[in-house]
């Protein structure tokens, strides 16, 4: 074992200098000490590039809003740019954060619907987003998840939370009709009916194991 005369410490590792006094260690001839950990190597700072990306997007938001404001006309195009910037940051977070892919898919759907509505609001014409994009996007996600559940019944519970969220989102167009936000009613109505049917299916069709899954997910 290696030894530091000054500190009177025996070292069971292959250091050459004492970590406290930096004095040279005495190394015996039959020294068999070894380093018992994996040596560290220089790491790349990916975090910096990520922060830079977020920073540049915020600069873009700030500059476009300022320029649009200085032109004297009501702010419009800069809101489109800003919405897109926020969407890009959110999408990057969703894609990079390790999670189940069905969950990523659902989160991306929600983010996309939101940005489309924001763009619609920015150009003062939100009807196409509310009337068509929202209901069809919600329905497509529910449809994809339902297909996945049917084709992979053994692991259906993996898709349960994203399906539940997409059902809730899909029911919202019904509310838009009631609140007279939607101008074209049939896509919203189709989305509402489709989501309601899926919800009833989730509640009444499943077997004992599905009810067990329900119990787990909603235990208080």
């Amino acid at each position: 074992m290696r030894y530091c005369k000054t500190c009177q410490i025996h070292y069971d590792t292959d250091l050459i200098h004492c970590i406290f006094c930096n004095g040279e260690l005495e190394i015996p001839e039959n020294d068999q000490t070894s380093y018992k950990f994996k040596p560290i190597t220089k790491k790349r700072h990916l975090g910096f590039f990520f922060r830079l990306f977020v920073f540049l997007n915020f600069i873009s938001i700030f500059l476009s809003l300022t320029i649009d404001y200085l032109t004297g006309t009501p702010i419009s195009w800069s809101l489109v740019v800003s919405s897109t910037n926020v969407y890009v940051i959110a999408a990057l977070f969703i894609l990079l954060y390790p999670s189940f892919w069905a969950s990523k898919f659902t989160k991306m759907m929600v983010a996309t619907i939101l940005v489309v509505i924001l763009i619609g609001l920015s150009i003062r014409d939100v009807s196409w987003a509310i009337d068509y994009v929202f209901p069809f996007a919600a329905m497509s996600v529910s449809l994809v998840l339902t297909a996945l559940i049917v084709s992979n019944r053994k692991r259906w519970f993996e898709y349960f939370p994203p399906l539940f969220i997409s059902i809730l989102v899909g029911l919202l167009p019904g509310l838009f009709i009631l609140l007279k936000i939607a101008q074209v009613h049939w896509p919203s109505l189709v989305s509402f009916i489709y989501s309601a049917v899926t919800l009833l299916g989730v509640i009444f069709l499943p077997s004992k194991s599905s009810r067990e899954e329900f119990k787990r997910r909603f235990h208080i």
Partner: protein, 425 residues
């Protein structure tokens, strides 16, 4: 028989960890065994996969419910990995086949790193012992388990029981109030790297010293010594308004006749004011008194009841998980991380079957947290005091080591620090 479907609620101690864990606060602890041969990773992987089904409490994955997280069965194949260069590294279970523990190998070392939401040191030790025993069996050795290897004994439903809840008595709560504690400051290592410093001591020598000279236990002595080292070596502690507080986790199983493998520990604490002068003897006396006052079953029970009572509050229960997570994060950042200065966790003596004694050379128990985290583990007449810290200042370790040497103990140290690391870290 192997169950296909099962699930558990998270226990009281584990509920907060999924919400507050991150790269620099992993809430992962490590247990390592150094074997008498280089590890064969293929056999180790087989051993782990043979052992997992016996330990239902660990064969789980973390799932999000609407109101709470929960553990759901996990039957996926487990892959062992080479030990990384970072201790107690934060890992995402989704990248680990859903499992909440890692098994690493490096030369002759087998390491189990466990996420604290699932179990504490005592539970993890049973698991590691069983893995290593299975490993040698698969290597072709004929070993007797001497009833010391849980993996070789019949499983009991009691092993998966939440003993915080089963011992809950709503009529016997004590008030929990914590004042903020002194916090270390200083430069930390880069890349969330944690400094590991192991002091190997002869158990007999150490016991003789603490019993005869100080009439204390090893845990009391080391707690006081650590506190005194901080008092001596930290320039900003004296006159600081907040006290130095040492947290010592207590294994509750012996107190409540429990065999659970899930979390079942509570901390007791000892507090040292920063507004007075201290000698080591005074600090030791305070430590002894704190232990005596708090290591009483009724006291511990009262605290369990208070903690479980909080979790049973209807307002908290009805809060959706998304909001609970935010509340946990805010609460932990405001209070949770600031109520202790140091921690000392003593896992005690590792009892191994006679056939395994010669094959396990040494053991590590590592708890990497904020500031200075200390652990104790004893094996084959040796006691390892392991100190970890993300801080670059190691003067506390130096003072503590020199005190032990002055007490006449032979000190052998090991570290994960290497020459040249200053350039990288």
């Amino acid at each position: 028989m192997r169950k296909e479907k099962y699930w558990f609620k998270l226990d009281n101690a584990g509920k907060i960890f999924p919400a507050v864990s991150k790269d620099n606060r992993s809430n992962v602890f490590r247990l390592s065994f150094y074997l008498d041969e280089t590890i064969d990773s293929t056999i180790l992987e087989q051993a782990v996969n043979k052992t997992i089904p016996r330990f239902e409490a660990f064969a789980v994955q973390l799932k999000n419910g609407f109101f709470w997280n929960y553990f759901s069965e996990n039957h996926r194949y487990f892959k062992v990995e080479e030990e990384p260069d970072q201790l107690c590294k934060y890992f995402r279970s989704i990248k680990n086949s859903g499992y909440l523990f890692k098994v690493y190998y490096l030369k002759n070392k087998v390491t189990l790193e466990m996420f604290h939401a699932i179990t504490d040191g005592a539970g993890a030790l049973h698991f590691l012992k069983s893995i290593v025993f299975q490993y040698f069996k698969l290597r072709g050795f004929q070993l007797q388990h001497d009833n010391l290897i849980l993996g070789e004994l019949p499983a009991s439903k009691k092993e998966s029981e939440d003993n915080f809840v089963s011992n809950y008595d709503k009529n016997n709560k004590i008030r929990l109030k914590e004042e903020k504690a002194y916090h270390f400051s200083g430069e930390t290592f880069k890349h969330n790297w944690v400094f590991f410093y192991k002091i190997r001591l002869d158990s007999k020598q150490l016991i003789a010293l603490v019993k005869e000279k100080y009439q204390a236990t090893i845990t009391q002595y080391i707690t006081a010594l650590l506190a005194f080292s901080i008092y001596q070596e930290t320039v900003d502690f004296r006159g600081h308004k907040k006290p130095l507080k040492a947290f010592i986790p207590v294994n509750l199983r012996p107190y409540f006749d429990s065999v659970t493998l899930r979390n079942f520990s509570l901390y007791i604490k000892t507090s040292f004011s920063s507004e007075r002068e201290w000698t080591f003897e005074e600090m030791l006396e305070i430590t002894k008194e704190s232990f005596k006052e708090q290591l009483i079953k009724e006291q511990l029970h009262g605290r369990i009841n208070a903690l479980v009572g909080f979790e049973k509050n209807w307002l908290i229960r009805m809060l959706p998980l998304v909001l609970k997570t935010i509340a946990f994060k805010i609460g932990y950042n405001l209070l949770g991380s600031s109520i202790n200065s140091i921690s000392l966790s003593n896992l005690g003596i590792v009892s191994l079957p006679e056939d395994l004694q010669a094959k396990v050379l040494d053991a590590d128990f590592v708890n990497a947290g904020y500031g200075v985290a200390a652990t104790l583990i004893s094996l084959k007449g040796q006691t390892n005091l392991i100190l970890t810290s993300p801080l670059k200042d190691i003067s506390i370790m130096n003072f503590l080591t020199q005190t032990l040497i002055k007490e006449g103990l032979k000190v052998v140290v090991d570290t994960n620090y290497k020459e040249g690391y200053d350039e990288i870290l």
